[in-house]
Amino acid sequence: MRRVLAVVCLVILLAFAPPSLLAAEAGEPPSRDVLDSVIELIRSGDADLLPVALEKVRGGLKGEDFTRELAEVVLPGLERSQDQAALLAALADRGDKAALPAIMAMAQGPAEAVVRAAAIRGVAALGGSDEVPFLESLLSGEAGTVDAARGALVAIRSDIVSPRLAIALGDEARSGPQRLAIVGILSERRETSALPALVAAAVDADADVRNAAMRSLGAMGGPEQIPGMVAGLLAARTDAERSDADRAIVQVCKEHRSKNLAAAALLDRFKAADPAAREVLLPTLARVGGPAVLEIVDGLIASPDAADRKLGLVALARWPDATVKDRLLHLVAQASTEEEREMLLGGLIRIAPLPNNSLDPAGKLALVEQTMSLCRRDQDRGRLLERASAIRTVETLRYVLPYVNQPTLAESACQSIVELAHQRKLRDGNKDEFMAALDKVLATTKNAEIADRAQRYKLGKTWERKKQ
């Protein structure tokens, strides 16, 4: 019954369909006149009309013969390189593989850089596995060609790209920049089959390759890659590289869908590591946090060995949330050296106002007050006052305001007050208190930017933070 109904509907539709539609459906080839008109417009070099013609190349006039005519006759005959590049882009969008041989020839030939780059993009759009070796060979060419080849290898539809590039990545004869480009391609293709190659590249002799591989693993990796990433972290030779590698590992352990497994894998590597490696890994482990890690940290802090204790304290100071606040408060009070005290206090100052530190705003402010009572230096007090502005409540304003009267802390307090006032909802909801506080800031601060901000907020205006 349904089939009969469908046939009846189709007959009715065809009866009322316009002739043009029927001709198109029947696959009627375009007339020679219209093809000639399009070619004439392309050859005219008319900036207004070229897009009109290319629109037809992209989606209008079907047929392999026309594609070949455009690619083999019209394209090489165009005088201006920008017109050639535009036609190449249109042929790529047309999606007809009949253009591929001519486009491939142009990509291989001595064309101008802009034309060659467009041809390489065309090869990526129309080509497949057969064209991958050619594109791969371009990675060792000139800079402009390498960029185009890199984009083409990211875009081309082929399942041999990642395996081939994985092998190429391990080829020590390839230069650092080439291996770096390969890591970028593998990373952008986001194919999991490339992960072993990226893990291997995480310990590459070239620092740029190592860095790029670790960044890719941070975005693509999972628990299985953690041992390799740990090797990458241990292979890092500078603090900056270690910091990047640390960030990549923490990213996997905190953002991957199997983040708990990743964190467990990291813990396993830590337990199996030698003392020197443990020293490097513990701060990373601490940034991941969790009860199992805290147990290890507690053990180290309780150790009679001074080096182990210091390692534990460093880890605790880098903890990601406020679950360790009582430990830190206790340890600050009992610190045996000023250096130890400052480090732990730094941890408290950092975690107290963190947005997701497991405390409510009142709890955060209470921790700020407790931490303030432990500070001995004005620079720590100032830092804490500035950090307090992350607790966006009127109670924070009330807490910070009296410090404007203390000359050594006045600027930090003023900074904190304008940060709080930047929150329009908070400011408008407590207008009287904020207006009075901003008046006090204006009467106190010597900092032109703070004064400008205070003035703006008083007038109900906003302030645009300078981009870093």
Binding site: P18, P19, D33, S37, L41, D48, V52, A53, G60
Partner: protein, 242 residues
């Protein structure tokens, strides 16, 4: 269930004395009656009778506007004379057209055509616009005759002919001798006709228009508008040739 007509007496008395700024909530029962009138010829007839009386009386613009909005929903040929009488009234012509545009009966179109020959200025532009919106092919000749007159009215006539897009409309536009801003309106209308012909499968007619426009601009457009028209004509020519 039959609508209680007695419940409308008080709202209709209030409507007769209504003006902007007063509480319109009182007319909710009239709104409900207008909705209920769909499929209830008797109720519709009663409402049209009462609305007609309000349009004919010395009621405010606010009252007449409210009535026109209701008649746009439920009006029949019965209401056309009362609405037609307002077409020549500068204050109420717009709302009367609003109703007549939506009453899908030949009497409504005839009233608009008749008024087209009577009114002047912006009211005439309104009639042209309403007839085009209705797709009233019988008005093509009358609207074509306006292409040679006042420039503002001629531009509105050109736009309307572009909307109506009949062969006669296209011929009138092709024969027009426009100047200044009017020329742009005629070209736009001709392009609209060509697109309509193309959509209907009449490539020959479309191609003739596109060719004529393309030739009139030539290969050296002087203004941004000429460039845009040239591109539109070339695109059309290619589409017509496909």
């Amino acid at each position: 269930m039959a609508f209680d007509l007695n419940s409308l007496d008080a709202p209709f008395i209030a409507l007769a004395g209504f003006d902007w700024g007063a509480d319109a909530d009182f007319f909710k029962s009239i709104d409900a009656a207008a909705v209920a009138a769909h499929g209830d010829a008797s109720l519709r007839g009663e409402l049209e009778k009462r609305f007609g009386a309000l349009l004919a009386g010395s009621t405010s613009r606010a009252t007449k506007e409210y009535v026109c909005r209701k008649l746009a929903m439920i009006g029949t040929a019965v209401s056309v004379p009362a609405l037609a009488a307002l077409l020549t009234d500068a204050d109420n012509s717009h709302m009367a057209r609003f109703a007549l545009e939506r009453i899908d009966l030949p009497e409504a179109a005839a009233a608009l055509r008749k008024a087209l020959g009577v009114v002047e200025g912006s009211l005439k532009i309104g009639m042209i616009s309403s007839l085009a919106s209705r797709g009233d092919l019988q008005s093509v000749a009358a609207i074509s005759n306006l292409l040679g007159g006042d420039a503002t009215i001629a531009a509105a006539a050109a736009a309307a002919l572009g909307t109506l897009s009949t062969p006669e409309a296209a011929a009138a536009l092709a024969a027009a001798k426009p100047a200044g801003d009017m020329a742009a309106a005629v070209v736009d209308a001709r392009l609209a006709c060509a697109e309509a012909f193309l959509a209907k499968g009449d490539r020959k007619a479309a191609k003739a228009i596109y060719s004529s426009i393309s030739a009139s601009i030539g290969d050296a457009p002087k203004t941004h508008r000429e460039r845009a028209v040239r591109v539109a004509a070339k695109r059309g020519l290619l589409a017509a040739a496909e």
